[in-house]
């Protein structure tokens, strides 16, 4: 499948089919739409550059997913410094409230706010598990960690979210 001459058409076709799910995945990892679109754009650019070494459709999807997770992680790392200055959260809260067309119900917003407070690894595992619905082995492959680490991150992430939602108190 991997002739570089085919790359433009093949990646464009994948872009049509996979852009939306990938943006939605990135959105859960980085919070805002603009950044999510940036991350996904980068992932498709990287896929295009690497097209020669991509051996199957599934491999292409896997490559995209890993790129999106890694790209989101580096955005979060950069933003962590910015979080010392917590305006982004303040504006985000207001923006969600103001934008009635895109309102997420309060109960969902609490869950998403809790998600944002998880350590990065736990957040990635929770999103890949409950949004992407990936089996543990594929999560492990996407993140480059062991299945055991996936299990423990998922478990700790669920407990932290339950605590944040007040379910344990």
């Amino acid at each position: 499948m991997a002739r570089t001459g085919d790359a433009d058409a093949a990646v464009a076709a994948l872009f049509q089919a996979q852009r939306l799910p990938m943006v939605r995945l990135a959105r859960l990892l980085v919070d805002d739409l603009e950044t999510a679109e940036d991350v996904v754009q980068d992932a498709f650019s990287a896929l295009h550059r690497k097209w020669g070494s991509i051996t199957s459709h599934d491999a292409a999807i896997g490559y995209l997913r890993t790129s999106v997770v890694n790209g989101s992680r580096s955005v979060l790392r950069r933003r962590r410094t910015a979080r010392a200055h917590p305006w982004p959260d303040a504006t985000k809260w207001s923006a969600d409230s103001a934008d009635s067309g895109l309102l997420v119900a309060e109960e969902h917003r609490e869950v998403l706010a809790a998600l944002r407070q998880l350590p990065t690894r736990q957040r990635e595992v929770i999103v890949l598990r409950y949004w992407s619905e990936l089996p543990e082995a594929e999560i492990a492959a996407a993140l480059g960690i062991s299945v055991g680490a996936v299990k423990s991150s998922a478990s700790r992430g669920r407990e932290a979210i339950a605590a944040l939602l007040g379910g344990m108190s």
Binding site: E37, F44, D89, L115, L164, G166
Partner: protein, 351 residues
């Protein structure tokens, strides 16, 4: 509904919420044209990636998009937005009129169309320092419900990466209640044109009286109630001065000396250092003694009530606590600067 929530409930709730976020946040119809990929070498990185095609047309773009996560309110109203290569709405290019003028990226914090408390300053982040704010001051006009008003810029160092300077814009006193505020910055030697519009809600002012361990809240001169509180201990005193609610979170994790906990509810943030109004169901000293790490502890019921009735931009005063005086950069400490000092412009002279 959350009592006795089990693992299955959490899993179901995660799936439901992720689904709701996906549907609400990323509409199906928002498909941009397929990207054109770089044919050789790496794609230009960061902003350059989408600046490149426009730079080729010899224009300088007023950068509004961001990777920093701040959803800017610096819209360009009355002009047709153009779609960038990634399909997002970007502001139209602004022609650089002088070879020496370096437009500074400016981003405003109030979200366009949102409603804030009367103590909310307009906060603008600038991507470069500049030596005099005169051109910016001359280009700035502010109206309240259509009538021009006098508002002034005050500058200070910013902790935001990539934005070394922040400017705060406010009137001598709080904004009037229930009005539309419209800020226009015309294109000038420092920044491209920028506007921001927002509304104010009721004039809601809270006064936290440490001596009486109570918080008195009025809204449009009507009482919202008097609430028993417990503030910071002598070793972790709550700061003094006038603060403004910066952010609200339904549930947060907090750390302090000998303390770390999650699931702390109805949090309304007042300082970057981490002072909040919070629900503190564990605190038996509300109305009696100061036992906190600096947060304003309230009963769960009171904290929830205040969470529902206060908004970002509402004013919370601490006239008699013993902690350090609130600074502008400590959060939204704007109201602690006397007007005569404010008019000088702070870090960057405005005169």
């Amino acid at each position: 509904m959350r009592d006795g929530m089990g693992p299955d409930d959490i899993e179901r709730q995660l799936r439901d919420s992720f689904d709701a976020r996906a549907r609400a946040g990323v509409p199906d119809g928002a498909m941009p044209p397929p990207p054109r990929f770089a044919t050789a070498g790496a794609a230009p990185r960061r902003h350059g990636r989408w600046l490149a095609p426009l730079a080729a047309a010899a224009v300088v773009l007023a950068v509004v998009g961001t990777v920093l996560g701040l959803q800017s309110g610096s819209g360009h109203h009355g002009q047709q937005p153009v779609a960038g290569p990634s399909g997002r709405q970007t502001s139209p290019p602004v022609l650089q009129t002088s070879a020496t003028a370096a437009p500074v990226d400016i981003r405003m914090v109030p979200v366009d169309g949102a409603t804030y408390g009367v103590g909310m300053p307009v906060v603008a982040y600038f991507s470069q320092r500049f030596s005099s704010a005169k051109p910016l001051v001359a280009a700035t006009s502010v109206t309240v419900s259509g009538k021009p008003v006098h508002a002034a810029w005050y500058f200070e160092k910013s902790a935001k990466p990539g934005y070394p300077v922040e400017g705060h814009l406010r009137m001598r006193d709080y904004w009037p209640a229930h009005v539309d505020v419209h800020v226009t910055v015309a294109a000038n030697a420092i920044t491209p044109a920028t506007t921001v519009n927002f509304h104010t809600g009721a004039r809601t002012i809270a006064v936290v009286e440490d001596a009486k361990h109570q918080m008195v809240v009025t809204s449009d001169d009507k009482s919202l109630g008097v609430f028993p509180v417990s503030l910071g201990t002598d070793s972790t005193p709550t700061g003094r001065g006038t603060k403004v609610i910066m952010a609200k979170q339904p549930s947060i994790c907090l750390s302090g000396p000998g303390f770390h906990g999650c699931g702390i509810k109805y949090a309304q943030q007042l300082t970057f250092s981490g002072e909040y109004l919070i629900a503190a169901p564990w605190n038996a000293a509300l109305g009696l003694r100061d036992t906190s790490n600096g947060c304003t502890n309230l009963t769960s019921a009171d904290a929830e009530y205040l969470y529902r009735h206060l908004r970002v931009g509402d004013v919370v005063k601490y006239p008699d606590t013993t902690g350090p005086m609130m600074q502008v950069a400590g959060g939204l400490g704007d109201w602690n600067v006397p007007w005569a000092v404010w008019l000088k412009g702070g870090l960057i002279p405005t005169g």
